[in-house]
Symmetry: C2
Subunit: 437 residues, 2 copies
Amino acid sequence: MGRKTLLERLRLGEAPPLLGRVAAEEGIDVGELAQAMLEGTAVLPCNGRRELESPRVVGGGSRTKVNANIGTSSDYAGIEDELVKLLAAVEAGADAVMDLSTGGPIDRVRDAVVANSPIPVGSVPIYQAAVRAMDERGSIVAMSKDDMFRAIEDHCASGVDFITVHCGMTAGALETLKANPRVADIVSRGGAFLAGWILHNDKENPLYAEFDRLLDIAREHEVTLSLGDGMRPGCIEDATDAAQVAELVVLGELVKRSREAGVQCMVEGPGHIPLHQVEANIRMAKAITRGAPFYVLGPLVTDVAAGYDHIAAAVGGAVAAMSGADFLCYVTPREHLGLPTAEDVREGVIVTRIAAHAADVARGIPGARDWDLDMSRARKGLDWERQLELALDPVKARKLFGERQVEGEEACTMCGDFCAMRFISEYLGRDGMPACE
Amino acid sequence: MGRKTLLERLRLGEAPPLLGRVAAEEGIDVGELAQAMLEGTAVLPCNGRRELESPRVVGGGSRTKVNANIGTSSDYAGIEDELVKLLAAVEAGADAVMDLSTGGPIDRVRDAVVANSPIPVGSVPIYQAAVRAMDERGSIVAMSKDDMFRAIEDHCASGVDFITVHCGMTAGALETLKANPRVADIVSRGGAFLAGWILHNDKENPLYAEFDRLLDIAREHEVTLSLGDGMRPGCIEDATDAAQVAELVVLGELVKRSREAGVQCMVEGPGHIPLHQVEANIRMAKAITRGAPFYVLGPLVTDVAAGYDHIAAAVGGAVAAMSGADFLCYVTPREHLGLPTAEDVREGVIVTRIAAHAADVARGIPGARDWDLDMSRARKGLDWERQLELALDPVKARKLFGERQVEGEEACTMCGDFCAMRFISEYLGRDGMPACE
């Protein structure tokens, strides 16, 4: 055995400097963070071979984190585009990126993303196994179980910090799906590939059947597992159904085994969920997984918002994070319509950060509310420069302000001469306020 | 006495055709709608002199409605711009518009909006009273109570369907505010004007003290009252505080008096509210006002989203409407930064409609979920034309799809050759599905 993992070191009572850095940035107690990691309610994804410039903790009472999915598809397969998207995500304030490439030079794209990302990088090895199987064997379902584990090994060795593995897509979960038909069946790519494989080969999902083999690879490379939800509902009609819950039960069992093996893990969740079911979904997932960090894609609270799915996701994401979700995967305006551009990536990250921050305010995360307070004081003081600086996206705020502002005006053009904030200050006599004209 | 009001006719057991039209459009029972209007839990704003092309009911188990604020300020005071905004709001699917003009030829702007709007129009007469007082008397606080009532009379006579009146901004509510200092004091313009007037003149708010006079005018012109929340919090730090609740208690009393007088009324609400307080705010307002239709501005769940406040409002608005709010006033991306453009208006309406629809799905409003189901079936069937038609904003969906689509591709470019929906159909054997390649 080589180097000890972070969890093994924590169990020995060591205090790895990485934890101290992260705790200080979050304004949380390092001892409490260590305890959360030992209990498995927080993870700190960082590949054993990596020195992350900006490590991030997920869960354990820390700030809600935001992930941006990037990566090629068969239609848009260039490395350069993905590096531009990576930069856009990082500059917009993403806490992690996932490289979901399925087109072009997949290994080189991933290597470039890992090499250039200051924040944790995740990937989905089964995508690459599927692409290779198509190339080499003519069909996704012709992949061998060794092909799957080879892809996982390759990804872990290439330095990614977390991997999505759809271990809960079992033969049993599929039986549940078949007995309870859906409108949209399976919309998770990894989940669909494995489901097809199970049905075609009439065998159990190797990522479930040989979960210990997966744990060994993850431990060796110190990669955090993100237990994928291959049964995540792809439309609100399918939400919170038997297949989704059956898979979640399996994931709960695998969380327990990961913890016992000293492998950090989190759990992925939906998807498309109507607003009145969001809180229940999060609380159910947290209960079944015994508080594992919960990583949601959306949830989208309606299916009809194509072009604005980042907003449908912000609504669901804010409520999810307030209810206990720890990690929000962004959705971009291009969701359901095409592969996002760098501008879509930027917009997706910003909007998801708004959802995450709204939840952090609601959850009482240290410092969250102070930001709003600073902004509101600047607003009351008609201090425009400070307001623009404090905006979550100062670039867009400055642009929108500048486009409509009138030279020499103290108030904004919304109310112009009839600014309520300025007017009332004279009569309520707050000190330091501009007098009403 | 002249013509009977809608409520008076309902009380006599008549069945005005207007109700039948609205009930049919909503898919609700006309008898139940009439009962809700009689109880005051639904309103149908329609000026007695108007034939509304597209009347709308607010409350009573109907679809959540969306209002768009338009109108001039001292900096942007042209009629043409406002008519373009009106058109943008109507085309984007707004259910009502409010003309909040405070600059330029205010009467002519309002007349043009009323003449050209197929949907109900609201206004805030105290704005015009304040503008006139500045012009004629040199100060807002120099307006007389007759100036206030004259503006209200003028607006009602000009054909608006509902008016915001800040009757709850009483001397008592102001004492509560002074005893409980705020970060942002008063941010409602009408509320601020009246608060300044009360403090400067050391008199009670005439709109409260002479509420019967206001009721007479409203009844005469058959104008629906929208009881304004002059104390609405302007930042999350001020949310759900003593002043806000003190005003709400007054509004509850005035709702009762309006109902007794046969005048339709709704109640306006916040504002800036942290996400974990939104539901409580709505339920409190509904309880205190005995189920009056509740009309919220936002609520914004964070103060730091300048440039994206429509999204902060969509998060709060969706949760508010799910919790019982009936009417969402849009917020545009330009909120807190300047007077919106027509493009801002369009974006604000669409995003607020997403919030309203997500809430309608959650509330089980008839037909709401069917739309999502149709979309999801089209999505599963890879029927792109149908998906684009069914999108809440087909124009934007078509644009985003077209920009990244590749000729001859059946799936979108997000997953390209590795489309989960297409792939799994072969193995799950759903009929009518495209086979996997």
